[in-house]
């Protein structure tokens, strides 16, 4: 089961994960990561822009690479675009597999690539001012692990 989506409206990760789990009968484990807009840091809003001709095709290619690299039964990859409020989900990646290692590593792999190597641009509003956010050095280091 493969489900790759860009969403411009708020979504409920729990509902997506429930459907996804049910759609992969026989699985041994499901690993899921949900990223949300942090609400503790003075961020008033977050906006994710993208470039339509590249963004979803890039996510599909990332899914191809994830299936090729890990022994998976299913992969869910959902990413928000547009303006979001603190506490709203930004991203949800879920991987179903026979064994936990493939499921956990696949989620880790997808998240590192979505964070620092997918066609999104992120900015935060603080005190009414918008600030563009680049990946942290840790994010680039995390991504580099997979090139080994």
């Amino acid at each position: 089961m493969r489900d790759i989506r860009l969403l411009s409206e708020p979504f409920n990760p729990g509902a997506l994960i429930g459907e996804f789990t049910d759609a992969n009968p026989g699985l041994g484990g499901v690993c899921t990561f949900v990223g949300e807009v942090r609400s503790d840091t003075g961020v008033e809003a977050l906006e994710l822009s993208h470039y339509e001709p590249l963004t979803l095709p890039g996510m599909e290619q990332l899914a191809d690479r994830t299936f090729a690299r890990f022994d998976l039964m299913g992969l869910l990859m959902v990413h928000r675009i547009g303006r979001m409020q603190p506490g709203e989900p930004i991203v949800c990646v879920s991987a179903a597999a026979k064994h936990r290692r493939a499921a956990i590593d696949a989620v880790d792999f997808c998240m590192d690539h979505l964070k620092a190597a997918a066609w999104f641009w992120k900015r935060e509003q603080r005190d009414g001012q918008w600030h563009w956010i680049e990946p942290r050095n840790d994010d680039y280091a995390d991504l580099a692990r997979w090139a080994k």
């Binding site: 590249l54 990413h79 641009w121 990946p135």
Partner: protein, 80 residues
């Protein structure tokens, strides 16, 4: 017809606009001339990419945009 140049993410702020139209064909040297000095500086950094007609260029200096094509200027990304 013409070539549309799209400024993505922070390049939009730097350019002061989202898009501009220029005469076709458009090559690397012509692009640097029309986008303004600030954006041209960014384009010369390795971490800024260019897509033409929906494909990211392996070598952005080989840009050859034809009539009706879109040239997207892609600064460093940040998702998740």
């Amino acid at each position: 017809m013409a070539v549309t140049i799209l400024f993505l993410g922070p390049l939009r702020d730097l350019a002061g606009r989202e898009a501009m139209e220029v005469d076709a064909p458009l090559e690397w040297a012509g692009l640097l001339e029309v986008v303004g000095a600030d954006v041209a500086d960014q384009l010369q950094q390795a971490r800024v990419n260019i897509a033409c007609a929906g494909k990211v260029l392996a070598d952005k200096m080989a840009l050859q945009a034809q009539d009706g094509e879109e040239v997207a200027l892609l600064p460093p990304v940040s998702g998740g």
